[in-house]
């Protein structure tokens, strides 16, 4: 186990971690505005990839047209979910809200498989498989693209939250009662955050789909996404990015070290342990707000 190998694991881990951040950013966007922990984000990611495939393979559109079209469709789906399912649960106990997002997760996954079929399909976005050499390091080109997209989206969000609409969303995140009092339409803001989150989910679905193929396993990104979101603080986008890098590096290095010892399959274990330790030691995450109720 030489240092170079660990460094390579770490750098590739950081890149894939930034792609986990894509899933986590979707969770954070919704949690910030409405305090709904969206456990259906994994399913949304999967649906996003399937919709892109439907436009690209089914309708025969080129990829540059299919992805924006899919994003618009997914924004519609996000708005529908918020309007039909989540808005009526506002103010209900959190067990109902969690169960609703879990139910949506099961429903979306199954309906996608009914319509799209369960066999894994490739999604080509024109990134070559050839590895990228950075000095002595061997990088996965698809991961580099994914990480760049994640950072770009984050930059877009940073600018967006400076605009008028972004300020409205920040106000809702800060105190929705006060926002109501000054005439902000909280419903519209929450709906908008669902649309944004679905857009991010589509991006995540396309990037992960291009790496591992489009099938049901895309929805398993939920565990990674939620871990990154909790680690970074459920309401911090910047936290999601940094936690994504951190979790990616840790997961890659730890499973690289542990796998030979334990006989493989330790990735999910590492992620679950990170989630437990975060909640036990610092439940508000790295950059979250300190208003978590505990006993």
């Amino acid at each position: 186990m030489d240092l170079m190998y660990l460094l390579e694991l770490g750098v590739n881990g950081a890149l894939s971690g930034l792609m986990y951040s894509l899933v986590a950013m979707g969770i954070v966007l919704i949690y910030k505005s409405s305090s709904v922990p969206n456990l259906a984000q994994g399913a949304l990611t999967m649906v996003g990839a399937y919709v892109v495939l439907a436009f690209a393979d089914g309708a025969g559109l080129p990829m540059w047209a299919a992805i924006p079209l899919a994003m618009i469709t997914m924004m519609g789906l996000g708005l529908t979910i918020e309007r039909v399912a989540l808005r009526r649960l506002a103010g209900r106990p959190i067990v109902m809200i969690l169960m609703m997002t879990l139910g949506l997760d099961i429903f979306l996954r199954a309906v996608t498989l009914v319509i799209g079929g369960g066999t894994a399909r490739p999604l080509k976005i024109g990134v070559s498989d050839a590895p990228l050499f950075l000095g002595p390091l061997l990088l996965n080109r698809a991961y580099v693209v994914g990480a760049v997209v994640a950072l770009l989206l984050f930059a877009v969000f940073v600018f967006f939250f400076r605009t008028r609409r972004g300020v409205v969303l920040r106000a809702i995140a800060d105190d929705y009662m006060a926002s109501w009092a000054v005439g902000i339409s909280v419903e519209r803001g929450v709906a908008f955050s669902w649309a944004l989150s679905s857009l991010v989910a589509t991006a995540a679905g396309v990037l992960w789909g291009s790496i591992q193929g489009v099938d049901q396993s895309l929805s398993l990104l939920l565990l990674k996404g939620i871990t990154v979101a909790v680690l970074g603080g459920m309401d911090s986008l910047g936290g999601a990015i940094l936690a994504g890098i951190g979790l990616g590096v840790f997961e890659a290095v730890a499973s690289g070290v542990l796998d030979p010892m334990l006989g493989g399959g330790s990735r999910d274990l590492v992620v679950a342990l990170v989630l437990i330790l975060t909640i036990m030691i610092r439940p508000h995450g790295l950059f979250g707000r300190h208003d978590i109720e505990r006993l």
Binding site: I94, V95, M96, M100, A110, S266, I279, M280, R294, L295
Partner: protein, 357 residues
């Protein structure tokens, strides 16, 4: 009319605190018990072994989970892992030659120990974070069970459960196994019915409603959360063991994966939080309904001459199952138990609907 209350006067404390003060309820319970006891004669052996037995076992597990979520108000997203601990402990115990009755109690106790580990998460965080930490613990448990050869017998292995022997008598027939499941379900139901009127049950409800307020009136929230997790884990562990011995007859880690935890949660939610009859309904609904609706859809498609692919039919039950959860949360968040209570409340005063309910 049906649930006539006229002439029921409580002249002593015992009758006031009776589980079923209304004669109609008592008659219904007796009828249901009679059906339960005579079911092997009344229904076909296929229905007995593939519907009734699993329903009874899942009901016991649902009641155990409802104890934590419905009564104590704590989340548990890793209940299947707790059941797995009980199941594996019992199977290993019986294989090592311990009598079944003792092994099953040992399984329950082992689950209690592990369940208390889950409870330590509950002692630190609440709400969403408790849900996520129990979910993560489920993943860890899954991994440990499937990757430690001493527990699961190796990755991907199936462990055969030995034949059940109760008090030295081998129980092999479907009828015998059904009675074991029935006895366990009745025992858990009786426990839950009585829990409502004991100090423990009331303390749990106090903790659920507001733990600070409970602490103010002298209920130690810490202690009762631990007790709730321990008790419910015991029920879950024994239910897991009973499930293996009466229904699956072999144990693999996949039988207790994370989706099973979510299915149990769905049973609790669809049945109704803190509702005992709801838990019976919820388990039946989630267990049977997706398959039935799927059969219905297939039948309609055949009738219309439409061709539904094998793959579509394979995924449809899951879609139906997800839609059921979403639909129930939107239409009747308190679940089937509340629907039953509505009907019963209506009949309590029928035909004088204007009377006070």
């Amino acid at each position: 009319m049906l649930f006539r209350q006229a002439g029921i006067r409580h002249t002593d404390y015992a009758s006031d605190r009776a589980l079923f003060p209304i004669p109609a309820d008592r008659a219904m319970i007796v009828a249901l018990l009679a059906f339960g006891l005579l079911a092997p004669v009344l229904v076909s052996s296929l229905a007995l072994s593939s519907y009734l037995t699993p329903w009874l076992v899942w009901t016991s597990a649902t009641l155990g989970l409802n104890l934590i979520i419905g009564w104590a108000g704590q989340f548990h997203f890793g209940y299947a892992a707790v059941m797995a601990i009980g199941a594996y402990t019992t199977v290993h115990g019986v294989r090592a030659g311990i009598p079944w009755e003792i092994a099953v109690v040992l399984g329950g106790l082992m689950s209690t120990v592990i369940g208390v580990v889950f409870a330590f998460a509950a002692l630190r965080v609440k709400g969403l974070y408790l849900a996520l930490s129990t979910l993560a613990l489920q993943f860890v448990m899954d991994w440990v069970i499937s990757h430690v050869p001493a527990i699961s017998g190796g990755v991907g292995a199936t462990l055969q459960a030995p034949a059940m022997r109760l008090l030295g008598q081998p129980i092999k027939s479907e009828v015998g196994l059904y009675y074991v499941a029935l006895a366990w379900a009745l025992l858990v139901t009786l426990f839950m019915l009585n829990l409502r009127r004991t100090a423990l049950g009331r303390a749990l409800v106090a903790v659920r409603e507001k733990d600070y307020a409970a602490a103010v009136i002298g209920v130690q929230a810490f202690r009762y959360k631990l007790v709730a997790f321990a008790t419910s884990s015991f029920i879950g562990g024994v239910s897991g063991a009973v499930l293996i011995f009466t229904f699956y007859h072999a144990v693999t880690p996949e039988q207790f994966a994370v989706n099973v935890s979510i299915e149990l949660l769905a049973m609790v939610i669809v049945g109704g939080l803190a509702s005992i009859i709801g838990s019976w309904f919820g388990a039946a609904f989630i267990l049977l309904m997706p398959g039935q609706i799927n059969a219905l859809i297939a039948w309609i498609a055949k009738l219309l001459g439409a061709d539904i692919g094998i793959e579509t039919l394979a995924h449809l039950p899951h879609a139906v199952y997800g839609a059921l959860i979403v639909g129930f949360l939107l239409v009747e968040p308190m679940g089937l138990g509340k629907l039953y209570a509505n009907v019963r409340n209506y009949l309590l005063v029928w035909p004088f609907g204007y009377a006070r309910k």
